[in-house]
């Protein structure tokens, strides 16, 4: 370095030292930066940097003048549409870190001098200077935070147009309800239905509280076939105690209610239980060809596996339709879970008949993602059985009988599209068909000796719930487990260590670190390096705080509250998890087979800009929760 160069570098250092973050930067890094900076002039109104210029080659620091950042493209990703920058400010941090074109156009609004640093020197500086690295990541984080808020606004606008399953029922009411009092002559009521083109007539009392309903589908069975005298009051022929819901309940709640009770109409009431309107199944699923209720009814009336196979296909189709409607991942997975539960229960009932086990006291346990209510479309079986040995019965023979029954259930589930578990985590495995005492022994040994195998088992089996049978058995097992795991800090410590083995696939330089698996180049496994990060952390938190829920979202929400996490932070984490789940569901969307090799994989380059940004934010949330574990367990 010549003496002249040293003096010029010194002059640049003096300039940089007047501005953040350079004034906090390490001396060595600062001198490196100053020695690599070249000064350029940008006449007023000239473009310094634009998306069309391709991958960003320089990082700019304004030395003198004024530069305006203007958003380009249809999608606004930040709060501002244009932003003026003054000397000492620098750009474009996100684009150069990610080695992509800038999303903004930068224009000199005055004659301006800018220092420029070549991209490779920018990268060296990031590695060299912790201060600069922190500055850049915080900047990007705040940008993403802004973009997340922006996206939420955009999504809620779109959602308002599209009507999602989270819409409150009050907003779904299309017209004033048609109602009569119980004394109204039936013929007049029917005439009014015909005049108003409505499918049902609500019967209300003097306070407008609904007391009954008469629907079109009742006409045949209640009026025509019994030859009901139409001059008699409608109160005599209506279905009493109709299903009502509050106007603040969501479409999703209503759909579940309809599915559960097998009804097509729900009466929406206000806080004083006065009639506000009627919501029909068609209102809820206008875009959907297959109704929840039909599937539910199909499952309940199925008398053999063939009929259930049809129901299983319908569940899949329904899920795809719901995805198309833009329903959120949490609701969607619960939907799938609810219907799969119904399917499984029906299979169990049919098998109980076949194996004559009507008196057996047992609970059918679901493990893993099914246990967490987080089934995606591509889930194999993970189940087990907890039973009570009847007094005076030989255990061996009884257990064999239960195992034979469980095997039938496993096979029928396989026939309905739930592949047999490759790891044999199924109730027909004698190791997993146990009494309460035996289960406690099993869990206890894992907690006492948390070797890698035990930790793996814990990650599958501790997410259990009772799906059919005597729920109390599962509850007893859970309260025992929580009491024991909570006190064993070594075990929780090991679990936490295990949960941290997989980092979120966020790159320091590129946005994402993709898999080097030659079979799926350029993709990210959303299960292994996405959802599981949240799931594992949530499990540890639930064990630590004694939260009984097996669902990841509930675990996070409840445990987070107990641990005093801010609700903003919690919602951000949960949103991150939900978004990854949604992407998983969408990536499975096109695959028809369960467990197809491409399942759970997403190529970030093929996502649109919005999804890519949210995905990155989601992974950041995973990192955040991992960091908490790291701090809590000093790992």
């Amino acid at each position: 370095m010549t003496e002249a160069t040293e003096m010029l570098v010194g002059a640049s250092v003096d300039f940089l030292c007047r501005h953040s973050p350079f004034n906090r930067m390490e001396r060595e890094a600062l001198e490196f930066l100053a020695s690599r900076l070249a000064l350029a002039f940008h006449p007023k109104d000239s473009v310094i940097l634009s998306p069309e210029m391709g991958q960003v080659k320089h990082f700019f620091i304004i030395q003198r003048g004024k530069v305006q950042a203007r958003q380009t493209g249809n999608v606004s990703v930040t709060e501002y549409s244009s932003l003026n920058m003054d000397p000492g400010e620098c750009f474009p941090i996100g684009a150069i870190s990610a080695q992509r074109p800038s999303t903004n156009t930068y224009i000199a609004v005055e004659d301006s001098f800018c220092f420029q640093l070549p991209a490779e020197d920018f990268m060296s500086l990031m590695q060299m200077s912790p201060v600069f690295h922190l500055f850049c990541t915080q900047y990007i984080a705040s940008l993403l935070n802004q973009s997340r808020q922006q996206l939420q606004i955009q999504f809620s606008q779109r959602a308002a147009e599209q009507q999602t399953m989270t819409t409150p029922l009050g907003q779904l009411i299309k017209r004033d309800p048609v109602s009569v009092t119980a004394e109204t002559v039936t013929r007049a009521a029917l005439q009014q239905m015909a005049d108003d083109h409505v499918g049902c007539m609500v019967v209300v009392d003097a306070d407008r509280k609904p007391i009954g309903i008469l629907t079109q589908s009742d006409l045949l069975t209640r009026l025509l076939l019994p030859a009901f005298d139409l001059s008699r009051p409608i109160g005599e022929v209506m279905s009493a105690s109709p299903h009502v819901m509050s106007s603040s309940a969501s479409a999703y709640d209503a759909a579940l209610e309809m599915a559960t009770h097998g009804v097509r109409h729900l009466l929406v009431v206000d806080a004083e239980e006065r009639l506000l309107g009627v919501v029909s199944e068609r209102d809820l699923f206008s875009l959907q060809r297959i109704g929840l209720r039909q599937i539910r009814a199909g499952i309940e009336s199925a008398s053999d596996v063939d009929a259930l196979q049809q129901a299983s296909r319908d569940i899949r189709q329904l899920a795809l339709n719901l995805i198309a409607q833009g329903i959120g991942a949490e609701q969607l997975t619960r939907f799938i879970s609810a219907l799969n539960d119904a399917l499984t229960c029906r299979i169990i009932e049919l098998c109980i008949d076949r194996h004559e086990l009507h008196d057996a006291e047992f609970a059918w346990l679901a493990f893993g993602s099914e246990g967490r209510h987080e089934q995606t479309l591509s889930t194999d079986q993970d189940n087990g059985l907890i039973y009570v040995l009847p007094e005076g019965v030989a255990q061996e023979a009884y257990k064999l009988k239960l195992i034979a029954f469980a095997r039938s259930v496993n096979e029928d589930l396989a026939a309905c599209g739930f592949p047999l578990c490759k790891g044999n985590i199924m109730a027909s495995n004698p190791e997993l068909c146990l009494t309460l005492a035996e289960w406690k022994n099993r869990f206890g040994s894992w907690i006492r000796e948390p070797d890698p195998k035990a930790l793996l088992n814990a990650s599958i089996f501790f997410d259990f719930r009772s799906l059919y049978g005597i729920e109390k058995l599962a509850e007893q097992l859970r309260s025992w487990l929580l009491a024991n795991a909570k006190t064993n800090t070594t075990f929780l410590h090991m679990m936490a260590g295990n949960a941290l083995t997989v980092p979120p696939p966020l790159g320091r330089i590129r946005d994402f670190v993709t898999d080097d698996d030659p079979q799926h180049p350029g993709t990210i496994d959303l299960k292994k390096s996405g959802a599981r990060l949240f799931v594992d952390a949530a499990r540890i938190l639930s064990l630590r705080t004694g939260v009984t829920s097996s669902s990841t979202v509930q675990r996070l929400r409840q445990a987070g509250q107990k641990l005093g996490w801010s609700s903003d932070e919690l919602s951000a984490i949960i949103e991150g998890f939900n978004f990854i789940q949604l992407l998983r569901l969408r990536s499975q969307h096109l695959d028809t087979e369960h467990d197809a090799p491409g399942d759970n994989r997403v190529n970030p380059d093929q996502l649109n800009e919005l999804d890519r940004r949210i995905l990155k934010e989601a992974f950041r949330q995973a990192r955040k929760i991992q960091l908490r574990l790291k701090l809590d367990y000093q790992l």
């Binding site: 002249a4 160069t5 003096m7 010029l8 002059a11 900076l37 350029a40 002039f41 940008h42 006449p43």
Partner: protein, 212 residues
């Protein structure tokens, strides 16, 4: 050093040069002339600035010459030298000659700077390099007439551009600001269609002619 020794110094100096310096001189003379028709972004300009004991050409001594390269419109700290005339004037000027090569040189006020520099070269190296000289004092008022339209001193332009430096009245300190004026001139010139060194030379010539 009096005016007489300055006058006779030249040829005597040339004979005393070290072989190394002679080599530099030969190399310089053999180098191709610059293509002044190339655009600024393909041209290397050298900003020269002198530091003397005063402003009187007859009585004051040259102390140092700073040279700052501007390549492709960019000013990089690595591309700069500052040559002191003491204790080894010939060595310093040799370094400067090697650094500049045949690139067009840019100064603020050619009259003063060129005279000081050429005299030093003649005195210590026995030879006057013939560069293409450009004078910002004449070019700036054409390109930035909204700021200043007349022939003014360096201070006025520094103020007009709002420039700062690490040390005023220092060869390199003032040179840094003149170099910034040059990159501004190249940028503004390009925007106005004066995209080559030759067009700037023309600009200066017609401006001088108009003011005569």
């Amino acid at each position: 050093m009096n005016w007489l020794s300055r006058l006779v110094g030249g040829s005597a100096a040339a004979e005393k040069l070290s072989p190394e310096l002679k080599g530099i001189l030969e190399k310089w003379k053999d180098a191709p002339e610059p293509d002044l028709g190339r655009p600024h972004f393909e041209t290397r300009y050298i900003v020269l600035n002198t530091e003397a004991s005063g402003l009187n050409l007859d009585t004051d001594r040259l102390l140092a010459i700073a040279a700052l390269g501007v390549r492709g419109g960019l000013l990089s700290p690595a591309d700069a030298v500052c040559c002191a005339l003491e204790p080894d004037p010939a060595g310093g000027l040799g370094t400067l000659l090697e650094f500049i090569g045949k690139a067009p040189v840019v100064v603020f006020n050619t009259g003063f700077n060129k005279a000081l520099i050429e005299r030093a070269f003649e005195e210590h190296l026995g030879f006057t390099p013939e560069w293409q000289w450009l004078d910002l004092q004449w070019i700036l008022p054409v390109l930035f007439s909204e700021k200043i339209s007349g022939q003014v001193r360096l201070n006025n332009w520094i103020e007009a551009f709002g420039l700062e430096t690490f040390q005023r009245h220092h060869a390199l300190g003032d040179g840094l600001m003149i170099a910034q004026m040059l990159i501004a001139a190249l940028g503004r010139g390009s925007a106005l269609g004066a995209v080559t060194a030759r067009s700037l030379i023309e600009m200066e010539r017609s401006r001088r002619a108009a003011r005569r």
